[in-house]
Symmetry: C2
Subunit: 493 residues, 2 copies
Amino acid sequence: MAKELKDLTKRSVDYSRWYNELVVKADLAEQADVRGCMVIKPYGYAIWECIQQNLDARFKATGVQNAYFPMLIPKSYLSKEADHVEGFAKECAVVTHYRLKANPDGDGVVVDPAAKLEEELIIRPTSETTIWNTFRGWIHSWRDLPILCNQWCNVMRWEMRTRLFLRTSEFLWQEGHTAHATRQEAEDRAKQMLEVYADFAKDILAIPMVRGVKSETERFAGALDTYTIEAMMQDGKALQSGTSHFLGQNFGKAFDVKFVNKENKEEYAWASSWGVSTRLMGALIMTHSDDNGLVLPPHVAPVQVVIIPIFKGDEVDKFDEVLGGLAKKLSAKGIRVKYDNADNKRPGFKFADYELKGVPIRLVMGGRDLENGTIELMRRDTLEKETLSFDGIEERIPSLLEEIQENIYNKALKHREECTYTCSNYEDFKQRVKEGGFFICDWDGTAETEAQIKADTQATIRCIPYGVSQENLRTDMVSGKPAVARVIIARSY
Amino acid sequence: MAKELKDLTKRSVDYSRWYNELVVKADLAEQADVRGCMVIKPYGYAIWECIQQNLDARFKATGVQNAYFPMLIPKSYLSKEADHVEGFAKECAVVTHYRLKANPDGDGVVVDPAAKLEEELIIRPTSETTIWNTFRGWIHSWRDLPILCNQWCNVMRWEMRTRLFLRTSEFLWQEGHTAHATRQEAEDRAKQMLEVYADFAKDILAIPMVRGVKSETERFAGALDTYTIEAMMQDGKALQSGTSHFLGQNFGKAFDVKFVNKENKEEYAWASSWGVSTRLMGALIMTHSDDNGLVLPPHVAPVQVVIIPIFKGDEVDKFDEVLGGLAKKLSAKGIRVKYDNADNKRPGFKFADYELKGVPIRLVMGGRDLENGTIELMRRDTLEKETLSFDGIEERIPSLLEEIQENIYNKALKHREECTYTCSNYEDFKQRVKEGGFFICDWDGTAETEAQIKADTQATIRCIPYGVSQENLRTDMVSGKPAVARVIIARSY
């Protein structure tokens, strides 16, 4: 077992394989028998719960309430918004029957042909259609607005090529759906939620996000504008980590959701929607982890501090008193701590396992430490060890956790900054983009240019980024035409 | 709108209609367009979140970890456990295709016949099959046991007659699944979780539960024993509110989950499973509410205290200072408080609305109160009002909330005790059971007698209850044969 733990492929050898192995070896998730679906294991789910709780509180602080809408959507709803059906019809799981029966020709069960649905139902790939169909009953006057709803749920998109957390047929997410009396309010909400996502990613996941607007090609099916947060992975590829959409009146019109405005006139309601998913787990893993395993920022680590005694036989009692007491003190400070005095695993195994699982701080005490009143501390982010006085150690931990959080963030930011380039020569670009990185380029605004870049390099326009000057635009490096925007181009997951 | 709020059917007129109306009028849930499915509205979902958070902490305190397993289950899995398939095959939603395409003959989209699945997938009605299929990879030695997993998720059972919260095709629930090295441990776990459910129901929902064991007829499909908590509704009917199952080695055998035990011998793993669902919402509503609307026990109320000023025009500022300050003080004590100074609704409307929504304590302050330093307090459970000194009011609230919680529980307990009868004459039973109530009867242990009772009266054996003496059993009132158990019989939801 201990051997197996060390068998992690190095990032420099095969980054993609390193990721796949790490997800499984660190007990985060595994492939299910059902094609493209995953089992999220307890340790992986504990991280997801940290993400959920923190995000949920942030949503509620902006006035959002949770609700729940049906998982099954009548097929015809999908067709009501033209772009939406175009975007999702090709990857829908379809329910056609509601009963099985004993197989008349042998073993097992077969679908009962008598139990065929009149209209097929699809498993939600996203819920704009069913939610806006419901909103019609909730919205009559401007006094009913805004409606700020969110649901945490599973969705299903029948993906052909899947990868744990990054792209699975079924995944967990939250989807926020809001209805507003004015265009301005709906647009503001879409932008506001992007900020909530970016702040969360920074504060909790220690991931610096580029915020920006998608090009038309990359927009959500049915949106007038899609805002995105894009993270850079260690291999220089981009990972779209969350999006928010200004939907205009598209769904209001498609589902006939009208209200009487303050001027006593009927008007269609304005919409936003926004979501992040278990894909964030992929972003988290690929941004920070190393050849020894996960590196978890303390704010999202299910176990922030692990305490391990090194003992023989019944010596454990002596450690239990001292270290059990320390665990209690840390726990009282709100720190998620685990005291591991199990005697069926060797210390070496434990060290490797907690390293693999990314526990931010490891405290180890052996017999000599006990005598000397010392303890060994290892930081997972730097792998640095130091021997400290046991006395008052609990006072150092909270600030050290914050220091680690900050260090992990800064490292990721530095990496992104070092791998972000300005580029105006297409030949040069084609060479360099293979190695990864974000390329800031001037773009002529056409889908043709985007398609050309994608065909030549697999790279896409990630977004028109905030915080990058849009002044003094020059020519598009592909077409040579005058540019209309400065964009970030990168290969992506 | 204010009129509409009062339009609630009285319980004495039509209990069933009262329930249906209340669920909708109190903004808890509504029927979705998809047959048998529901939309859980924000207020209803906030109650569900209270339930989830509290239960989740209780599960974790017993060592349970959350995880997530796929929603889709290969059809063949269902057949691997004979009783299980018998129990669930008739109500399965079946996914047969994974793609839609543009309708070649007209508008909209149709199922793409080219995208037919080789093996159909069903939407989980419960997850024993897929979880035990996964456990096979996790369990090799006794050292891997026990595994104590839970998931919060949606499930689908294609019910023919549905009712909001009580019986819907899709519902939300938690399902715990545990694997053990010994029979004893698995049985103990099933019993332990029943106690967790019963304690939770008492402490949080203020519902007294009868705990007991199901008869064979009423067992979960695939279980060796099913334990149940049964609540009595105000009309004297029973509502099964949660169950836990000792599954023996049935799923271990069906999915070939073997481990090497301490004696170095191979053995099949032992199982328990246990679940409660959004049905608890139905139990909560029907146990406590009255003709004015919901009555929520404080421990599960999303808003525990509402504070309403009665003001004209710009007087509101004066109240904001005083009552806003009170709200802050209560909030600092961990009380969920809402200060409602909205000026677009009249006080009378607010009173009716918060009554309908079951907010446990209402505080109202008018101009004279402000002058006199008084405030009016109303308890939702008794509808009693009293005028109190404003000074120090915040000190009274926490203990009053506890008093209300206790009172609501005691009222429900008293009702159940008053409507629980001992009965040994079948003619007498047949008359009286129509009026509701729990009937403690001696039973001969046969399915025939159960079937007879059900055919004659629609009543069923709810359980062999804990805490009812099983000594000095006499004869079965139906068959006249010697009894083998003392059971509770009742009509149920």
